[in-house]
Subunit: 336 residues, 2 copies
Amino acid sequence: MPENRYWRLDDHPHGNDFAAAFSLQHEPIPEPGPGQVLIQNSWLSMDAGTRMWITPRTDGYQPPLPLGSKMVGLCLGHVVASRDPNFTEGDLVRCFGQWADYALVDPALSGLVKVDPSVADIREHFGTLGLNALTAWAGLVDVAHVKPEENVLVSAAAGATGSLACQIARNLGCTVIGIAGGPEKCGYLTEELGVARAIDYKHDDVEKALSEVPGGINAYFDNVGGPMLDAALPNMAHYGRIAICGLVATYDSDTPTPGPARFDQILMRRLTITGFFLPDFLDRAANYLPTLREWLDSGKLVMRFDETRGLENTLSAYAGMLTGRNIGKVIVDVRG
Amino acid sequence: MPENRYWRLDDHPHGNDFAAAFSLQHEPIPEPGPGQVLIQNSWLSMDAGTRMWITPRTDGYQPPLPLGSKMVGLCLGHVVASRDPNFTEGDLVRCFGQWADYALVDPALSGLVKVDPSVADIREHFGTLGLNALTAWAGLVDVAHVKPEENVLVSAAAGATGSLACQIARNLGCTVIGIAGGPEKCGYLTEELGVARAIDYKHDDVEKALSEVPGGINAYFDNVGGPMLDAALPNMAHYGRIAICGLVATYDSDTPTPGPARFDQILMRRLTITGFFLPDFLDRAANYLPTLREWLDSGKLVMRFDETRGLENTLSAYAGMLTGRNIGKVIVDVRG
């Protein structure tokens, strides 16, 4: 008889020691209650934002996941049982489900959506058509108000959101500067993503490299916070905009880390810094999708996948994503 | 024969030791060159922003004043000689002139404007009708987008800009929370400025007091940066806006001071922080003035002046303003 395996959060992890914090549990396949939908997961998405939910901090953008819970994460799979009339067995769907063979969700609470099964590689629903892409679009266009010809800086530029932000900014006519760690990632940026200049933060003096950008940085799509933000601040153009998408540098800390030392540049350069969160933009995200799809089909938007096989190997995929081991989107193939 | 006295910047001051950095010099009254205007100053305005110009820092919002220069500051006085056809002897004017008996200015470079001599107390051109008022309006309305019923926090609330920000926000229908140092200032806020709640940062736990504001802070008009900003960040309402008007806490430092420890709350609460600078808003400031004048005339906008007599006493007035000794607007009466 088939069973469901799931990752249980037993303790708040220290740093990236996830083996001590999670255990793989077994249970009978759950039955959907009234209004619920059961999904057989095909892929799990590994996302840095989830790192915040598994700390005890109550000042994050959502409450911490209670210890003993099934780990929550973004899932792509097929409906196998539905007690919601909007979803039918066989639908290809994406939602915030569980790190499990089967995700049991309330559609409204989990952001359950049907996605187009005709896409050549359905993993693109975690890639160029996924939430990272919508996040990149919202941050660049709705938050940072990028305009053609502007200099746009992207940190963690070889990651899932970063690599999409680079390409979207480029497709919108901006000059893109990407920051990533190591020559392989930097080569990826310039050779495959059309980034004008790649800065290797493990090797280059980032602040100096940014000071050489003619006219300064008009918009910064920041995924990491910390030293990269400090390097950017004094090199922003006047009236520059900074969209704070993530502060990965701080997520595994139990206590807040200091803000940027060059905070005063916000005043001196009359900058605007805005923290944003994709769910606030989901109602207009439907407007972004046709263009993303067009770019995907015409080769103007690509995603590299860093795929791990097996639900049992999820934790190393997760740690790899958080430590920047990957290029592109980290996913776990949980198909049997 | 009359002469001109002026304060010369001899050295970059350490902290608030201005006596070692400035000297009072004497010279013949200057003659305006082509296009220039000579003004006999009546009052000088003491403004925290000028503290930045007299450091050696080149990353401020304008280049440092060269050593050996006449100290620059905001002046209110009458034209005594003009080689600009737009200004005539006897005009009451305001400009960025010099800390001197006579200011010699290029109209375009100094922001020279005629002001209305019919105002009952012409010092109001440094007060309710002055640049502090325009700054307060721009920060609240154009930058922080305050709306009626919102909770608006103001730091340095008993100072010139702060006390105007409190009253303008109140007049616009907001609930105002003011932070100031000491019971006298706090009494001024609640008794004379209509502030709903005054927080004494020298006595109260500011962060705790702010945590008790129902619904959180929707907009923060920040004059100081530093610990007050840190106390505010975790108590902002989601989508709150912070207008950074000044960072007085950092102006006398030769090196940048760390940013707010609670910087992560910008992301968690989806805040927007914007540094702003009045000159960027001067073209629309003409639209603010009629309302400010109406409020002044109807008693809905008041300014308390902290006046020092004599150009020779300017330095103590300046130090007092920077250390928050004053309530309201610090000015120096330089009339003979």
